[in-house]
Amino acid sequence: MTKTILAVDDSASMRQMVAFTLKGAGYEVIEAVDGQDALDKANHYKVNLVLTDINMPRMDGLKLLEMLRQLADYKSIPILMLTTESSNDIKAQGKAAGATGWLVKPFDPKRLLEVVHKVIG
């Protein structure tokens, strides 16, 4: 069965690059433009993995992470942060809020797929 990934980023080019990589490997990809959009879509679709940016308008990635972890369906769903941010402070915040992993941009498609395979098979 095809696994579904929710890709959240306010940059259209980033969403396209993520979608290109994941679709090429056979995943279904749902795109969201910010945290709020992602939260709405997370409630409508059954998602196997969330891949989210941090710096976004309306709702940032860390807030989205907190909100998703409060939903029963997303307590154990892997949530990967894909961001330009790499400071230890913000990583610690993400980890404390329940992030599964941290990927710093720019991502390498091969490496992204390895991580995705590892967390959702």
């Binding site: 080019s13 990589t21 941290w102 710093v104």
Partner: protein, 251 residues
């Protein structure tokens, strides 16, 4: 402002001179005629007034004056034409506005370039995929099992298609530059905005005071404005110096 200060200083000197002349005439009158108590009082008043005017004129000479973005003493300013030093807040606002416009322009250019590159990327990706499938189809349908030259050619076609796909995957990493640059430009725009606002606040405060600000006070105000602007944009969203792959960590 400078013109006014310059005139005021010389008016003080001239008026002091006139008061001195008046005092001298009164002293002469005192000795030439009968002295009255009113005469003596008038002489002391004139001398007092003379001293006050002289002190005022001298103290006005080196008083620092804050001028939009730079500090100069009257002595320096007097050597400049009046028009060159009457800079107002509007000029600073316009300057900040033009910086912001240029940053916006850079962001639009980057965004436009990235959109075009992504379109090209998608098109090449589709062509490559179609080419790949076509080679596979030819291999299955048209190539006789014993026709080694055709099989060799098809294998080479397949290798070329694979190489193109590898290059496309590498382009995925490079094409993320748009996101990094846009975030950095937004951060810079916010810093410029914050600095402009903080400087405007300092400027308003210094203009609302009745006395002129000293050089130290103005420096302190500018430092405070810079610190406030920095504090609001402390977290730099992009620290990458190149387009190499970022680190990966699983918790």
């Amino acid at each position: 402002m400078i013109k006014l200060d310059f005139k005021r200083k010389w008016a003080n000197f001239m008026f002091a001179g006139m008061v001195l002349v008046f005092a001298v005439i009164q002293v002469y009158w005192l000795f030439a005629n009968d002295a009255s108590i009113m005469h003596v009082l008038s002489i002391f008043t004139s001398i007092g007034l003379f001293l006050v005017l002289i002190i005022l004129a001298i103290s006005r000479r080196e008083k620092p004056i804050k001028m939009q973005g730079e500090i100069k003493t009257d002595a320096v300013k007097e050597s400049l034409p009046f028009t060159s030093v009457t800079i107002g807040n509007v000029d600073a606002d316009e300057y900040f506005y033009s910086i912001k416009n240029e940053l916006d322009q850079a962001e639009r250019l980057v965004s436009d370039a990235v959109n075009n590159l992504v379109l090209n990327f998608n098109y090449i990706s589709k062509l490559t995929s179609a080419h790949h499938n076509m080679v596979l189809a030819i291999e299955k349908m048209a190539a006789p099992a014993d026709n080694k030259p055709i099989l060799k050619l098809l294998r080479r076609q397949m290798e070329t298609a694979d190489k193109i796909e590898q290059e496309l995957a590498a382009a995925v990493t490079s094409l993320q530059f748009g996101d990094l640059v846009t975030q950095l430009l937004n951060h810079t725009t916010n810093q410029v905005d914050e600095l402009n606002l903080a400087l405007q606040r300092i400027d308003r405060k210094s203009n609302s005071g009745s006395r002129g600000k000293s050089l130290d006070e103005i420096h302190h105000g500018i430092s405070k404005a810079v610190v406030a602007a920095k504090e609001k944009n402390k977290r730099k969203p992009v620290v990458q110096q190149g387009m190499g792959m970022g680190e990966v960590e699983l918790f």
